[in-house]
């Protein structure tokens, strides 16, 4: 019935292959972009068809086995897909936002030398991401998991002639690999643990069915889930593995929007959702996730306060928002986490694309004026709202949404998370404090960004400032669609307390409810508490916005004074808490030193020393013994005499 599910990842794969192999010959941008975007849209249509079919279907879990992959003894693994409400939501987000970003890229990448390469990678990414979310067992998911890592690597390093770009690409892949190490270990331990109980499987449905065989809260399940969580911190840029994401902004902006905001980085959240049954059984892991998520939300927000590069602010904002999602997963608010994943995909994609539109415009203007100013530095912006009205309005809507202002999409999802972090049986009021503080900072730095970019006087170089155009329609259409979604996307999940039915929650219930019931995870508290918390968080957001307004519109000289006053703190925040330097000091440099030592010390000196030493000894003995073969008769006669004397002597005495 859902037998056309395989088409969803298949379409972008085909697009990637076509453009990868023949793109160079096709050359025509419209054709290349059309193929890539068209196939993505087809994929979206199939996804939508399946989504709505599932919506009306009583049976909510459907598996599709395509072929056998590995078959070794008891280990039987298939290429299989899984459609349930969770993956249905994900495919809609991935193909929907993906199509829009493909469309956007046609305008954004116009004139790029290897236009075809970009679209080939972008399609390949969509394929990998869809495999990730549709994967019916952990290994098919892992294909997607590493596949998106590969595409992320390729796209971050897209401008590979730039050293910083290729370095950032390497960093992204390698840091992700650290996470993958965790993922693999988790997988191995889980497989082994279940095999001990007689279940040989990596299939998600079977894992969910047999999870109860493992001891709830036991060491094994905690280790398994912590390993998986390590994997999630890599992919989703959480403490301690978040450092690659800000650097990933080296990639073209549509990439940042699609991969590093809307889809790939949410894979960790999705993975926890996918295995919620296991995670729910490990309260210690859940607590770790909640704390890491909360702290990441908080720390990334602090860094976001001080950055001047428009994309970097958004990058830290993404890290911070992902922290929210993990906070949600950690306190057991699975559907709230996925809900935030979805709304975040709308508004953050819109924000990134909006920033891309601004960069695109500025780049155009600088190019026109033959200037080489940094088009991403917000200190060169200001007053752009008049030049780019559509970009401005969609950007503003999304900013309001991310700030958590009531009745925009971000409000519903964020508030649900904050409520659960306070009221959940797995929550704690300190977690709420972290989340609320981060929300205030988010409102501040996002409006700081808006004010610096779109308001105030134009700080762009005089020669360029009159040449900033509004972007073409391929760019503005996606902005408008995403802006619209950022505005209304929250209404599918209006909580009961505000008179809604939270249909989103109900739709996902078949996936999460079982684990929540079995492990007694629920939010409790009076309506009064819930209203109060909501009011506080809205108030905090408004304070944040107001502060930003005061500092960046009313008294633009304030930030300078502020920085001068707290120079030390500012330096720490501006330099991202020196985490990169710390990692270089603790991991990178020692590894290089050890490598050199093992090579020049152990390999060359010790091992080869022994080998050459042996050769030397043999040679020495040989050349010593050579003298016995002198060829002179009297020498041999002498030795013979000595020998005879010795032998006789031996026998006589």
């Amino acid at each position: 019935m859902y037998s056309n599910l395989w088409l969803i990842p298949f379409f972008p794969l085909i697009g990637s292959i076509i453009n990868g192999l023949f793109g160079k010959k096709i050359k025509n941008e419209a054709v290349i972009g059309g193929i890539a975007t068209g196939l993505m849209f087809l994929s979206f249509l199939v996804a939508a068809q399946n989504f709505f079919k599932l919506l009306g279907d009583k049976e909510k879990v459907h598996e599709l086995v395509i072929a056998s992959w590995m078959s070794v003894g008891n280990f039987q693994l298939n290429w299989e897909l899984l459609l349930d409400p969770l993956s249905a939501v994900m495919i809609m987000v991935v193909t929907g936002v993906g199509t829009l970003i493909h469309l956007y890229s046609i305008g954004y990448m116009h004139g790029d030398e290897s236009f075809y390469r970009f679209f080939s990678y972008l399609n390949l990414f969509a394929f990998a991401m869809l495999m990730l979310v549709l994967g019916g067992n952990a290994l098919v998911m892992f294909i997607g998991w590493e596949g998106v890592g590969l595409c992320s690597y390729l796209l971050i390093g897209y401008y590979y002639e730039k050293k910083s770009a290729s370095t950032a690409a390497n960093k992204a892949f390698i840091v992700n690999r650290v996470g993958d190490f965790g993922f693999l270990c988790g997988l191995f331990v889980l497989f082994w643990a279940l095999a001990e109980k007689g279940v040989w499987t990596l299939n998600f449905v079977e894992i969910a069915e047999s999870g109860h065989l493992l001891e709830s809260g036991g060491l094994l399940i905690t280790v398994v889930t912590l390993c998986f969580f390590l994997g999630a911190t890599g992919k989703s840029a959480q403490i301690p593995l978040f450092t690659w994401l800000p650097d990933a902004m080296e990639g073209p902006t549509p990439v940042s929007a699609l991969i590093h905001a809307a889809t790939m980085v949410t894979a960790g959240v999705y993975m926890i959702g996918r295995m919620n049954g296991l995670f729910a059984m490990a309260p210690a892991t859940m607590m770790t996730i909640a704390i890491v998520g909360g702290l990441t939300a908080f720390f990334a927000a602090t860094i976001g306060l001080a950055q001047n590069d428009i994309k970097r602010v958004l990058a830290y904002s993404t890290v911070s928002q992902l922290g929210y999602m993990f906070l949600a997963m950690g306190v057991g608010a699975f559907s709230a986490g996925i809900f935030h994943l979805m709304t975040h995909a709308f508004f953050k994609a819109c924000l990134f694309l909006g920033s891309g539109s601004v960069i695109h415009g500025l780049h155009h203007a600088y190019h026109h004026a033959h200037l080489h100013d940094d088009p991403q530095d917000m200190r060169n912006m200001g007053g752009i709202r008049k030049k780019m009205p559509i970009t401005f309005i969609t950007f503003l809507v999304s900013t309001i949404a991310i700030s958590g202002i009531p009745f925009f999409s971000g409000f519903f999802s964020k508030d649900e998370i904050l409520w659960w972090s306070f009221g959940s049986t797995r929550g704690h009021c300190l977690l709420w404090v972290l989340g609320a503080a981060a929300a205030g900072m988010t409102a501040f730095y996002m409006f700081r960004l808006v004010f610096m970019t779109f308001f105030g006087e134009q700080k762009t170089d005089a020669r360029a400032k009159d040449h900033i155009p509004e972007s073409p329609f391929t760019i503005t259409i996606p902005l408008m669609v995403l802006g619209f979604l950022a505005l209304i996307g929250g209404y599918i999940g209006v909580p009961k307390i505000l008179g809604g039915a939270n249909r989103f929650h109900a739709f996902l219930a078949p996936v999460f409810e079982h684990a929540q019931h079995a492990n007694e995870i629920h939010a409790h508290g009076s309506h009064a508490t819930e209203y109060t918390l909501m009011a506080i968080s809205v108030a905090i957001a408004i304070i944040g916005i107001f502060t930003a307004w005061v500092m960046y519109v009313k008294n633009p000289e304030l930030p300078g004074k502020f920085v001068a006053r707290f120079a030390g703190a500012h330096r720490v925040i501006f330099n991202k808490w020196y985490i990169d330097e710390l990692y270089d000091f603790v991991f990178v440099n020692p590894c290089k030193k050890i490598g050199t030592f093992l090579w020049r010390g152990v390999d060359v000196k010790i091992v080869d020393g022994v080998v050459n030493g042996c050769a030397w000894v043999v040679k020495g003995i040989g050349s010593g013994l050579r003298y016995t073969q002198s060829g002179y008769l009297y020498n041999y006669a002498m030795i013979m005499v000595v020998g005879v004397v010795l032998i006789v002597g031996f026998f006589v005495f």
Binding site: W69, G73, Q76, S166, C185, G198, S210, T596
Partner: protein
């Protein structure tokens, strides 16, 4: 013809040498053409093996040939005893597959004494094939030694600047191992005769059934194991490898990496482990430890190399660590992972050496710092290099992943769990050294003016790489083509090794229909050697 297909396949390259003898030595094109044709025909002869479904149903030896060869009564007896099973099948195929590729790769690279070079390659092929199909221990030894000689000359005559040092080092290392093995073979024979079990020369299937006392097994395993460990190479016996690889001509490196190193791992699987199953458990922790050290050590040292070829050589040490760890896991997943990883390493590392060769032919240097920005000049090369790089890193969807994953999974299920955790860090390190070298060679701007005029791959060079790329994805996506023919033989072999005697595998039956798999075939293991 099927009656002696294996012999035909093995000795056809010798026939090629005979033809070469009668060709004029200055007509390079003709010599190369004939050699290529001979190797392609050899491949064609071997092809029916790959399609024969008998391997999917029966794990025993097929395509048997048996002739008495030397028979000095009780004193010494050896036979021409050959055959192939699911374990040697893909190694044989890898050999016949990779040889034409290496010959094609030397098209423009070798100028000095082409005739001799080609003859050495063909002789090498006979040696390698013979070693994989030998079922007589002494016959194996003859082929094993036969491989040494052409490889020694390939390095020593056609190698780089330091070729003499490298060749001698290679020879001495391997010869030391060979001597130990020879002593051990004689010792085994002596024991076999004592027990009166041996009626068939050095037939390994009879030798499997010998029930040697633990003490004898201990020393014999040590001797065989040492010899094979040099060939693998396992840490700390690996230092001949970087030198041999760096100095060898591209063709030599490719064959060395793709096939010759597999002799060591194959030797463990075919000889050392099943012949001495009682001693095996004593050694496994130690050997597994060395494998893991090899993975981490090889990766860290590879990371710091400034010569690309040396980097690839050290990465081999790491990759073969995965192979050995999988094999020592002593369960089906681990062994399957190890076996397929042998093939993978042949394909991916072979491809990497070819890639280094392409660069070397263009620039006559292999120093990483000499390059940079090559991707802008050689886009096709860049794409192929990228794919091979990720196959070497073990990206899912490529061959490398299947091997590493199964090897590690097998180790996790055995008593080698903690070893496996450390081995898994190799997954991170592989990404570090491969991506770093790729970045330094391919990315960035062209800064060295000598790289300005680099030409992209020629049609011949692309043709060399395409078959390798095909298998990178084939094994990555549909490894069952290979596993289905390996499984029965591996089950038999594990039984022979006494898998559950080692007490590292606890195979449970799947519960009521979950994960419908067939059961592992080593339930009643002890019967064979008790």
């Amino acid at each position: 013809m099927a009656d002696n297909l294996l012999s035909l396949m093995t000795f056809f390259p010798l026939l090629g040498i005979l033809i070469l003898l009668f060709l004029p030595r200055d007509n390079g094109g003709l010599l190369k053409g004939v050699t290529l044709a001979v190797s392609l025909i050899t491949f064609a002869i071997s092809l029916p093996l790959a399609f024969d479904n008998v391997f999917t149903t029966s794990g025993g030896m097929h395509y048997r040939e048996f002739y008495q060869w030397i028979n000095i009564g009780d004193f010494f007896q050896m036979n021409y005893n050959i055959g192939v099973d699911g374990i040697s099948l893909w190694l044989v195929m890898l050999t016949t597959f990779i040889t034409p590729i290496t010959i094609l790769s030397t098209w423009d690279a070798v100028e000095k004494n082409i005739k001799g070079f080609m003859a050495m390659l063909l002789l090498l092929e006979t040696g390698m094939l013979g070693a994989f199909i030998s079922l007589d221990l002494f016959l194996f030894y003859i082929f094993w030694e036969l491989m040494l000689i052409p490889m020694y000359f390939l390095i020593g005559i056609w190698g780089g600047k330091n070729r003499i040092y490298a060749a001698v080092k290679f020879f001495i290392y391997t010869a030391v191992g060979s001597l130990l093995m020879l002593v051990a073979i004689i010792f085994v024979y002596y024991f076999a005769q004592q027990s009166g079990a041996l009626t068939n020369g050095f037939g390994i299937q009879e030798l499997y059934k010998l029930d040697l006392p633990y003490n004898a097994q201990f020393w014999l395993f040590l001797a065989f194991g040492f010899s094979f460990a040099i060939k693998v190479p396992m840490f700390p016996l690996h230092t001949w490898l970087p030198d041999a690889h760096t100095e060898a001509p591209t063709a030599g490196s490719v064959i060395l990496a793709a096939v010759l190193l597999k002799m060591g791992t194959y030797g463990y699987v075919r000889f050392a482990m099943p012949m001495f199953p009682d001693a095996l458990p004593t050694f496994i922790p130690f050997l597994a430890f060395l494998s893991v050290v090899g993975i981490i050590y090889g990766s860290l040292v590879a990371m710091m190399q400034d010569d690309i070829k040396k980097l690839v050589a050290y990465s081999s040490v790491a990759h073969l660590g995965f192979v050995m760890l999988g094999v020592f896991a002593m369960n089906l997943q681990g062994l399957a992972g190890g076996m397929i990883q042998m093939i993978n390493h042949g394909i991916s590392t072979g491809a990497l050496f070819l890639i280094v060769g392409f660069l070397y032919e263009r620039r006559h240097t292999r120093l990483i710092t000499e390059f940079g920005g090559v991707a802008t000049k050689m886009p096709i090369f860049a794409t192929i290099f990228m794919i091979v790089t990720f196959s070497s890193i073990g990206l899912p969807g490529t061959n490398g992943f299947v091997g590493e994953f199964l090897a590690l999974m097998g180790a996790f299920q055995s008593g080698l769990r903690w070893y496996a955790v450390f081995a898994t860090t190799g997954v991170i390190l592989a990404a570090v050294y491969m991506l770093w070298v790729y970045q330094r060679v391919m990315f960035g701007k062209v800064t060295n003016p000598e790289n300005e005029n680099l030409k992209d791959l020629s049609a011949r060079e692309i043709a060399i790489m395409l078959p390798l790329l095909l298998f990178i994805f084939w094994i990555g996506i549909a490894p069952n083509t290979f596993f289905s023919k390996m499984n029965p033989a591996m089950e038999l072999m594990l039984e022979q090794m006494g898998a559950d005697k080692v007490a590292v595998v606890e195979m449970h039956q799947p519960a009521d229909g979950h994960a419908a798999g067939h059961t592992n075939g080593h339930a009643d293991t002890n019967a064979d050697h008790q």
